[in-house]
Amino acid sequence: MGVLENKFNDNIVVGSLDKFLSWSRSTSPWFFQFGLACCAIEMMATAAARHDLERIGMMPRSSPRQADVMIVAGTVTMKMALRVKKLYEQMANPKYVISMGSCATSGGPYWQHGYHVLKGVDLVVPVDVYVPGCPPRPEALIEGLLKLQQLISDERPLTRKLA
């Protein structure tokens, strides 16, 4: 939205337009497929026929330029952490991050002795929704995504900024 962001006072026209905008954003957040470890298998299963993410408007993209949501699915090593940050910076605004599984959230089983694993992807990029599990079942990921859609539809891009 760039130049229009937070530039208006709330009234009946702008308010309705605002709601429409956030509704349309929330119903088609395309995600950046980001398989780093075994969580990727569950993410693929979520996007495939049985759980069918496209029924809630989500669709995997392979380029950060075309994606709104980054699902960090798996163990983020220190080597990968720099790349994750770079990919996040390449995404266009508005952008959201889901930390999927315990590895991405806190380092998981590598918490204590894993010299090479990033202790939570939130050290590198801001995270909107954490999905617990090792790995989370597709239902859990879908719940996280619905939470994210709720978060997006609560935003009012033209009139106020949600922190």
Binding site: L82, Y115, L123
Partner: protein, 166 residues
């Protein structure tokens, strides 16, 4: 060909190259590092030995003041016998001759052992880290390894709870 026959063949060809060690088991034998490249060529090409397959290169840190070890698992497809060659290396200056050009698989094996233990394989044509980032500090699988505090400004060890992380 059984283990003692292999041992005596090597002893015959390279006198004083074998090092006596009572802790060796089964098909292991410890050799002096300075003969390694010649012995490796011999092991691969001698018609009675024909070790055509290098299965693995392992690094071992024997702890405290003990040496680092580079171990090679060799197997002969042709003659169906195998040995494990052990070379002990000085902890402060661990160097050993590279066998990367004898068994080509040794290329990545040696890079991995270099990455984890800092054992330098002299004569390797592309000795870089293979798993850790190129600018990583230290050798992770050594017993005296100390983790670096930050990597490109990112916190590495777990300090979240200890420092009142929000």
């Amino acid at each position: 060909m059984n283990h003692s026959e292999i041992q005596s063949l090597i002893e015959e060809k390279f006198p004083n190259s074998l090092i006596a060690n009572e802790n060796l088991q089964g098909n292991q034998l410890e050799i002096d590092g300075q003969f390694w490249k010649d012995i490796a060529t011999f092991l691969k090409n001698d018609p009675k030995l024909l070790f055509d397959q290098l299965e693995c290169i392992t690094g071992i840190d024997t702890g405290d003041d003990g040496p680092l070890q580079s171990r090679y698992n060799l197997h002969s497809m042709e003659l169906r016998h195998k040995i494990e060659v052990i070379i002990s290396l000085d902890r402060d200056n661990p160097t050993v001759e590279s066998i990367e050009q004898i068994w080509r698989i040794g290329d990545w094996f040696e890079r991995e052992t270099y990455d984890m233990f800092g054992i330098v394989y002299e004569g390797h044509r592309d000795l870089r880290r293979i798993l850790c980032p190129d600018d990583w500090e230290g050798w992770p699988l050594r017993k005296d390894y100390e983790l670096q505090e930050t990597y490109h400004g990112i916190m590495v060890p777990k300090v979240k709870e200890e420092e009142g992380w929000e």
